[in-house]
């Protein structure tokens, strides 16, 4: 592929961020404000944003920091939330054959749900330049996320608590969750995870980890009952 094609694919990826930008900016600000709000230093709050760079995992880590969970529980729970990236990585790898090691490592660092989902839709359309498109959208989302995080870290405390902006986190996750519930097994996993986190109180703040594992087990069990709901079927 010529460098011009690659550049066009990259720019197409940048443009594909436009409809995603409002939600990303809002969620990034809330994540930054939440981290600073539970007493992490601005440097630590920003480190969550660029080292972990995954909103749901950042929120989980933030909540666990606030509740005084042991360090290993925070790392393990936050990592379980991010295990899905391995699926995306496997799916994306075929489009990065022939790309330089630097491009592949950069793609790994920048990999997010939204960059992956939009890129996958484009790849399924049979369009060329998937790697360049991915780097364009993923890098732009990264930039938006860091700017939003900094704004949240430094300006979050100015928003009055009566605005209940913390509820944006719940609504963001609801917005991500609802479209996932396409079959009974996925819905069952969600219901089991939700009920576990409400009714099962475990020591060391292990509730979220238990909810993930119990929810996954229920999903797999339901999938065996109704095989047509198997992933990809």
């Amino acid at each position: 592929m010529s460098s011009l094609d690659r550049r066009q694919a990259f720019l197409a990826g940048v443009r594909a961020c436009i409809p995603l930008a409002p939600g990303v900016l809002l969620f990034g600000m809330v994540c930054g404000a939440a981290a600073a709000g539970v007493g992490l230093t601005p440097g630590q709050s920003f480190a969550l944003s660029w080292m972990v760079f995954a909103g749901s995992s950042q929120i989980v880590a933030t909540q666990l920091f606030a509740s005084g969970a042991p360090g290993w529980v925070i790392v393990l729970t936050g990592w379980i939330v991010n295990l899905r990236f391995m699926m995306y990585s496997a799916s994306l790898a075929q489009h990065f054959r022939g790309e330089s090691r630097g491009a592949r490592w950069l793609a790994g660092y920048l990999l997010t749900d939204q960059a992956f989902a939009v890129t996958l839709a484009r790849a399924l359309d049979g369009r060329k330049g998937v790697a360049g498109f991915f780097l364009g959208i993923a890098f732009t989302l990264w930039l938006l996320w860091q700017v939003a995080s900094l704004a949240g870290i430094f300006l979050g405390a100015l928003v009055p608590a009566s605005w209940s902006m913390d509820f944006v986190v719940a609504l963001t996750f609801i917005g991500v969750l609802a479209p996932l519930l396409r079959d009974r097994a996925m819905a069952g996993a969600a219901v089991a995870g939700g009920l576990t986190s409400v009714f099962l109180v475990l020591p060391l703040k292990l509730n979220l980890m238990a909810a993930a594992l119990i929810g996954a087990a229920v999903g797999i069990a339901l999938e065996k009952l109704w095989p047509k709901s198997r992933p990809g079927a």
């Binding site: 969550l48 080292m51 990592w79 994306l92 509820f167 917005g175 969750l177 995870g193 986190s197």
Partner: protein
């Protein structure tokens, strides 16, 4: 938690996350994920998302005596309906927050 320990936790989570993202991209897709692992990874996101959401519509702490917070529950259901119909996270946030503010002002 001591400040240095907090840094250690953030760095460890960051490195573990980066390794997970890089895994197959670095190996260039040599081999596929085994089916059992794909199954688990498929069902972890809805479970963990619901687990994060659920305590936020409660009036108090989780536990056997947990009770729902009225305005937050209604706002969450409205956000869910919008997200299910439109697949737009932003619309879900906008409608959910509007409902929550409306109900708390009443």
């Amino acid at each position: 938690m001591a400040e240095i320990a907090t840094w250690g936790v953030i760095a460890a989570l960051g490195l573990a996350t980066f390794a997970t993202r890089l895994s197959f991209l670095a190996l260039l897709g040599e081999g596929e994920l085994p089916l059992w692992l794909r199954r688990i990874l498929h069902y972890v996101p809805p479970a963990i998302l619901a687990a994060i959401i659920a305590p936020q519509v409660l009036a108090g702490a989780p536990g056997l005596a947990a009770t729902l917070d009225g305005p937050r529950t209604v706002a969450a259901l409205a956000g869910f309906a919008v997200a299910y119909a439109t697949r737009s996270t932003f619309a879900s946030i906008a409608v959910g927050m509007a409902v929550l503010w409306g109900l708390t002002l009443l």
